[in-house]
Amino acid sequence: MTTPAPTDGRVALLHVDDDDLAACVACGLCLPHCPTYRVTGLEAASPRGRITAMRAVQWDGAALDATFAQYMEECVQCRGCEAACPSSVPFGRLMEGARATLQEQPPVKRSPLRGVAEWFGFRVLLPRHWLLLAFTWLLLVAQRLRIVPKGVALPRLSARSLVRPLRPAPAAGEVDAYLFTGCVMDAWQRDVHRAALEVMEAGGAAVGLAGRGGDCCGALHVHAGRIDEARRLATRVVASMPGDAPVVVDSAGCGAAMKDYGHLIDTPEARAFAARVRDFAEWARERHLPLELTGRRVVVQDPCHLRHVQRAASFTHEVLARAYDVTGTDDDGLCCGAGGVYAVVQPELAGAIRARKVEALQRAAGDTAPLVASANPGCLMHLRGAGVDVRHPAELLAAALKKERPPL
């Protein structure tokens, strides 16, 4: 293979490892597991195509242009391809590297508005939880006044939830587990945390919350290629939950990012912290929980960051099965299209991908309208946007806790 020098004089080397890039044998076995390929049928919207495009830029001197940027930005970063790849191509790493390069050398001038929005979101809002909460109040008012544009997939915000902070029962000594509450989820879906807390305490655990700085895990920053910002946030999160107690995370996306802190910050502390991170169901399955059988059928949607990245999706099925008639979908865990901010920046693709998922959920439910469990706040909101009844597994478990158990 000849490797001509870049033709446009630009040194456009991607922040990716050449061996990672060489690892793809172009077999195509990942294609059906890629949501964007499934809905477009385009090589350019497939894992293999995206890798070939990266190779063209990295090795064959193709320009780092708008077309390339488009191919990269259409990826949901669900990593379904990574789980399906027999050659173990580390696709997530490749895509994060390509995005980081695009972040540094954007081939198309971004609209100033988008620049301001990104700066405000990533740099100002997410790292400052008090500000995010204040902003959420504004949104709530806007929502009640019906001035939030229709396209914005905002969940119905709750003032009742926002005024009531999470209050774990005080622990006598060391806590048995931390519950990580994060940024947007705490502002928009605090009731899920409340349910998780209730279940954890019903399981006999003394639960602690993160201290100062444990506001935002940085997952959204990593996906956007904003690695330095992500590192700063991650370092703060690690410091906010000292000790050896497991760190329970009820957002699959956050959990995946936090389990990867060892790679992101690469210090012994970060590695030790990452080893303590558990998905909510992963933690709950080892606990006795006072549950009663409800007889209700629940269709479990496996969030990509739980199934393909954490490879821990089976625990949700296992724990829910203690109280529900649990069934999965027949689509090999194909992504629902939520993907962090993906649904906002690529609404058309996200909508088409979601339509496929809704069909799969409906098939699994049979004749009735499906009651769906999703362990990721992003998927939850995205699927609710299509009118599906989606709950977090913690909420379903809390609803199935035995009523006559001794009061906490």
Binding site: P32, T52, Y71
Partner: protein, 472 residues
């Protein structure tokens, strides 16, 4: 060039044809190694669209190449001669399922496994199951006459295709074959199956669906020597058992596969066999006993019967990931596809290992043991200078060794661009000329997937060479 794209867009829709350089780069190859260059790529959504695309290509003096999922291993979908690439991924509907007659009409872009899944609730499946079945299209399967582990008992693709609607090289339509068993006249359907896109593009396919067997069991056998494994294969067949599938993997590939799936393949065995038995429950149990007996006679060290469907599925996932999993050892592979007489297997394998050793290359083997279809894979890193010469030299010697042992080039993966120079080893000049004339009868202009299957100079008195921009 822009006229070409504009015409395609006018006929198929604005977002249905492209020619940006980066876009074309993504369609330069399939899962094989040969690369070419397309003039434009288009995505039709109906038979009429395909016919229009073919006519537009012809009007602009260009050939055309059909492409499904691009999982072909022989460069069949590699664009040669600046063609228009016609991709079938948007034609992916199962059009009609006739449960009573067990026939389905499908569009060519339907994925093989999706078809099986869509009729699963009817207790039916589509029998040909190439290892790439999750990703490859039925159209691609028809064009390569694909086989798979379960084709041992049920036959390859051709057996399961009843009728085809095709767009010929001049853009006209034809129906080949039919649903009634005895079709009068020549079997043109049979000619088209396996023609690798050189006779036209299939746009609707009538396939036969098979009933799911009442019972299925899979055995995993591990051996300390390839000899024992090969002898067991012969023993099973001599005992009168026709397994639904009978597959062998050598030591290196077994390890690579186990690292991917973790299904409990013995990492230190010299060879493993996967044996699948199906039929009525009692019969299957009796066959398991018989296979066990043969295996222990040949000193199998492990004999495991998959306990449930999940374990069975995992074993097959391992086998079907074999080609992909080898990248754990090196990033590129060059694959051969030959059929050797089962009795010569041990002998041929020894030669294969020796040839690779001489060229300082690593080779691994997967084998559809039941029908003698051997897949030696040379694994290497294409970035190493000068490696291609060694790979090609070793590849040629391996194929020759197979042919000399009385084997043939298999059509399972197609001949495409990469294997066509080996055609004269098994066909005489007259044979090749006859094949070239058959192809000409379908496509006198040579516009349908040019330079594939038949080597340059197959027509008596003709000499072409691989054009600039394509390399093998």
């Amino acid at each position: 060039m822009h006229d070409l794209v504009n015409d395609l867009r006018a006929a198929l829709g604005t977002d249905r044809a492209r020619a940006e350089p980066l876009e074309l780069a993504l369609y330069a190859r399939d899962a094989g190694v040969a690369r070419g260059r397309a003039a434009a790529v288009c995505w039709p959504s109906s038979t009429d669209d395909v016919a229009a695309a073919v006519r537009i290509a012809r009007r602009h003096g260009r050939p055309f190449v059909a492409r499904g999922s691009g999982t072909g291993l022989a460069g069949g979908a590699t664009p040669v001669g600046d063609p228009v690439v016609i991709v079938t991924t948007h034609m992916n509907r199962v059009l009609e399922v006739d449960t009573a007659n067990r026939v389905a009409w499908v569009e060519p872009g339907v994925l093989n496994l999706d078809l099986t899944r869509s009729v699963h609730h009817l207790g039916l499946h589509y029998a040909p199951d190439p290892s790439s079945q999750q990703a490859c299209t039925v159209g691609g399967n028809v064009a390569t006459n694909a086989g798979g582990p379960h084709c041992l008992a049920s036959g390859v693709t051709s057996t399961h295709v009843l009728a085809l609607d095709v767009v010929l090289a001049d853009g006209s339509l034809a129906r080949l074959g039919g649903l009634e068993p005895d079709q009068p006249g020549y079997d043109l359907r049979g000619c088209f199956v396996g023609s690798e896109g050189t006779m036209g593009i299939a746009t609707r396919i009538a396939v036969r669906l098979s009933p799911d067997p009442p019972a299925v069991r899979t055995l995993l056998l591990g051996f300390d020597s390839v000899d024992d494994a090969a002898a067991t294969v012969s023993g099973i067949i001599a005992a009168g058992i026709v397994p639904a599938a009978l597959e062998m993997m050598d030591a290196l590939i077994t390890r690579a596969v186990e690292d991917f799936v973790g299904a409990g393949f013995p990492r230190d065995a010299a060879a493993v066999l996967l044996v699948e038995l199906d039929g009525l429950p009692d019969g299957v149990d009796a066959q398991i006993g018989a296979v066990r007996a043969v295996a222990s006679e040949r000193s199998a060290r492990t004999v495991r019967v998959a306990a449930d469907e999940a374990e069975r599925a995992l074993l097959w996932k391992g086998r079907k990931s074999a080609f992909g999993a080898i990248a754990r050892i090196a990033p590129d592979y060059y694959l051969h596809d030959a059929v050797v007489p089962r009795t010569r297997l041990v002998d041929v394998l020894e030669q294969v290992y020796a040839i690779a050793g001489e060229h300082r290359l690593t080779v691994m083997n997967v084998f559809h043991a039941g029908d003698g279809n051997l897949h030696p894979l040379i694994v290497f890193d294409a970035r190493e200078p000068g490696i291609w010469d060694r790979v090609h030299a070793a590849g040629d010697e391996i194929l020759r060794a197979c042919v000399e042992a009385g084997g043939v080039l298999s059509g399972e993966h197609g001949i495409g661009l990469e294997k066509r120079e080996a055609m004269p080893w098994i066909f005489s000049a007259d044979d090749l000329d006859a094949q070239a004339r058959l192809r000409d009868a379908f496509d006198p202009t040579g516009a349908a997937n040019p330079q594939k299957v038949l080597p340059a100079g197959s027509r008596c008195g003709e000499a072409t060479r691989v054009p600039e921009g394509a390399w093998i």
